[in-house]
Symmetry: C2
Subunit: 203 residues, 2 copies
């Protein structure tokens, strides 16, 4: 009863993801587009649209893998329970991760499509998991009943970090500062942490 697909949709998505990662590794983000992915998969462009609703979905998949890898990396950092020490330890691993995976990291900060669609549901989960990890680091700074403030503090810090990488990905960070991105990130974390320690972030 009808032609059988060569691969299931999930298999196809995994193959497309691998193809995208190869392309990014070899040619960087500019080399990533529907046609190159299709060519490397050995299928036609139309097949990409049988698997995904559009290229943005594939990009989300790549970014999902990046977020997973980041979470895995940060999970391995041993924690002491001292927020300052731990946040710095996590920050070091974070910066190493960014340096290791510069190309796919920058894909997190690219907007590729004219029609802005929101990311798939599972994407939020991956972000939330990272926030949960960071909440574990900063929790000692907030008393019991401070979970809301804690959650907010983590997210604000994430947003600040986003500023660094967003500027850096477009080569615009140097308009603002002569410092390297990791130095900027460290500085921000230090000031932010001092602010939290001083009692800010609790309305």
């Amino acid at each position: 009863m009808g032609r059988r697909p060569k691969h299931s949709k999930d298999e196809f998505q995994r193959i497309a993801l691998a193809a995208a990662q190869d392309i990014i590794a070899e040619h960087g983000l500019p080399g990533l587009n529907v046609r190159t992915v299709a060519a490397r998969m050995g299928v036609s462009v139309g097949t990409i649209y049988n698997i995904f609703t559009g290229i943005e979905e594939l990009v989300a998949l790549v970014n999902g893998e990046t977020l997973d890898a980041l979470h895995a990396a940060l999970s391995e950092v041993p924690l002491s329970g001292r927020p300052e020490d731990d946040l710095h330890a996590v920050l070091d691993r974070y910066l190493a991760f960014v340096a290791e995976r510069e190309r796919s990291w920058n894909l997190l900060f690219e907007e590729r499509l004219p029609g802005a669609k929101e990311p798939p549901d599972w994407y939020y989960g991956k972000i939330t998991r990272l926030f949960t990890l960071l909440e574990g680091v900063l929790r000692p700074l907030f008393g019991p009943g401070g979970e809301t403030d804690l959650a907010r503090a983590v997210r604000l810090l994430w947003i600040c970090m986003h500023g660094v990488w967003s500027l850096n990905a477009r080569d615009h960070l140097s308009i603002v500062t002569g410092d390297a991105p990791d130095a900027v990130a460290r500085n921000i974390v230090d000031i932010y942490l001092a602010g939290l320690r001083a009692g800010a972030g609790r309305p």
Copy 2:
């Protein structure tokens, strides 16, 4: 000895800038492209390339005007010499400005071209002028001889703000937080300021 240009290059640039601003006001950023600008100017696309090296230069012009207007707005805020009060006053004006000019503001955070070229020289000046203004606000927090730290502190805060608007411009802020962008900005400023007051940002 040759055909006379209808307008000088500078005149043409001003006309193009006005056309671009009209388009942004009427159709938003998605409506802004070489053809719409040319059409509204009543010239052909080729003429755009006689005036500019590419569309990115026109975008820079619009952004330059936005930065000028922001500087003008912030300049009018009366200052007391108390960093916390003054920074909050400036922040209020800043947030009002962003709300007033949401569309052209977001153009600051768009990357339009594949080939990344750096902004023209005058662009740096406009940014620097804003930093100078903010340095005036925060200077009391830094002793004499603290100019380097002061300059850095201002730039770091700018980068953090960039994170807010960069996420917001792509409708991604809601992935991270349920709070509105201006609330996020205020929170960040408060924590950052507390950190500076606590003595962070001085190596």
